[in-house]
Amino acid sequence: MAKELMKGNEALAEAAIRAGCRFYSGYPITPQTEILEYLSWRMDEVGGTFVQTESELAGINMLLGAAAAGARALTSSAGPGFSLNQEGISYLVAADLPAVIIDVMRIGTGLGDIAQGQGDYWQLTRGGGHGDYRTIVLAPASVQENCDMMETAFDLAEKYRHPVLIASDAAIGQMAEGVNLPELREHNIDSFDWAVRGCRHGDAPRKIQNTYYTRPDYVEYLRDKYAAMDSEQRWESYMADDADVVLVAYGISSRVAKEAVNEARAEGFRLGLIRPITLWPFPNRAFEECKNAKAYMTVEINILGQMADDVRLAVRDTRPVDFYGTFFGLPESDVIVEKAKAMLEKEGK
């Protein structure tokens, strides 16, 4: 099949349609608005529902209703809008509902700004709303991955009856690349018995609410669920097994980091890369193959190096872990190489 040239955000939207998503509700905010725009006409073509809601709060709660009724339901947002989504994400978790929420990350705290950023890592991986939860987070690094991850996201959401987050960013969202699109599939809204549809006489009514009201085994159920989700660790290793310094980067930063690895290798410096594809569960297992690593460095578009703690945990603090973080602007490959070398020197080679 011939490749199609698509923008990252549009690819996410089209891939959602092809994964059987027939419900979208959301609100405009840069840099994710192309998803909304694309689905405003595309949903019509496939007989799905598109609603531009009055706010992200209405959007996520409308999605919750659609998910409770058995649809493959999607919303997308960014920055402050994604914060408003947290009310519903927390409740999707509590009510055992599958759904997919895309965060096309922009830069900064508060209102932030529209440039690419990776400052939502903590919010994405720690359970960004109130309460006690986590969600699987998938981080695409190319437009093709946007296409490939959408079906995976819905499958995982349904497998665990749990929302799945997609952590994209403004750069991946706005860039255009050639992609192979997946086949179009339909989803049956009656696939799951728990989905509301009206209660037949003599049956017990379906109840969508905090599951601790309905599950006597609530605590064990959740602990088992999270333990099972831990098996979903996904990553890409790029020359990490023999590397002296291993970079850790996801999304758009990982592409610059890969360039840095190539540049370093060309001059004989053994640099490698681990690219988390799931930000949660964090791919701890990836680090087992880094037999030669003397130091680790995350490459991120944020000022606090949010992912570095996860790397420290993954390597059990046996090696130094530092970060190279940028703000307003992508990381640069020559700076990565320079900083990695400096780390190695500090470790006395």
């Binding site: 419900f23 209405a58 649809a71 009514p205």
Partner: protein
């Protein structure tokens, strides 16, 4: 109200004595039986006092986040257009935290039915002031009485009157006449949904004896004599009907 309780509503035990919720949920049940939609109806109830209904009636039910009942119901309706969908919420949900959701669902004329229980206070949290609290009414957050110079009294129904929706009415859950009207309005609201006419909303003025600090009979009097001054009763929009 019939003498025989509807089969699809089997309790109201959690509501305080004299509370209007038990009456309202029974009316929803009776109406569902009369319209023969018991096996298709999906209900969405707000958290707090409204949420007891999830255990009291025999409908597939979603407990929604506070004030998000309407978008939740709209989400269900889009996915299952063959199901009548009813959102059941209080005045705090409909006209305070969920005001935007209420207005915009009406603006889109979303085909769901909304029941708003207006008792002039936040009930479950202990009787705090609401947008519907009457001027001078004493609540847990207006201990000297609501100061009309600082906080107005909002009639959600008046706000919705100008909108292009299917049905809009208000009744009081007081007396045989009030109950009969309340039931007629709920039924008409659901019929409009079944006919595909769009958004319907019925507000029910409801006694909350616990938070009004009144015995049940006095609480009913408050609804009938005081609340109706600010919240006029009747049908205000009835698309294709005689209104």
């Amino acid at each position: 109200m019939k003498l025989k309780a509807p089969e699809c509503v089997f309790s109201s035990a959690g509501f305080c004595p004299g509370c209007g919720h038990g009456l309202a949920s029974r009316l929803v049940g009776e109406t569902a039986e009369e319209l023969n939609i018991v096996e298709k109806l999906v209900t969405v109830v707000d958290v707090a006092c409204c949420s007891f209904n999830i255990d009291y009636w025999n409908f597939d039910t979603i407990m929604a986040a506070h004030g998000r009942d309407i978008p939740t119901a709209v989400g269900v309706k889009h996915v299952r257009p063959g199901c009548p969908v009813l959102a059941y919420m209080g005045d705090g949900a409909a006209y305070s935290i969920g005001m935007a959701e209420t207005i915009h669902a009406a603006l889109r004329n979303d085909p769901v039915t909304v029941i708003v229980i207006n008792n002039s206070v936040f009930g479950m949290t202990g009787g705090q002031m609401a947008p519907t609290t009457l001027p001078g009414e004493r609540t847990a957050t207006s201990p000297k009485g609501k100061d009309p110079a600082r906080y107005g009294t909002l009639s959600g129904v008046e706000l919705l009157k100008g909108m292009d929706i299917a049905y809009l009415a208000r009744a009081e859950l007081v007396g045989v006449g009030g109950m009969a009207k309340a039931k007629r309005y709920i039924k008409k609201a659901l019929e409009h949904q079944l006919n595909g006419d769009g958004f319907s909303l019925v507000e029910l003025l409801s006694p909350c004896p616990t938070n009004l600090n009144l015995p049940p009979v006095k609480a009913k009097q408050f609804v009938h004599e005081e609340m109706t001054k600010y919240f006029p009763l009747g049908e205000f929009i009835d698309k294709g009907g005689d209104k």
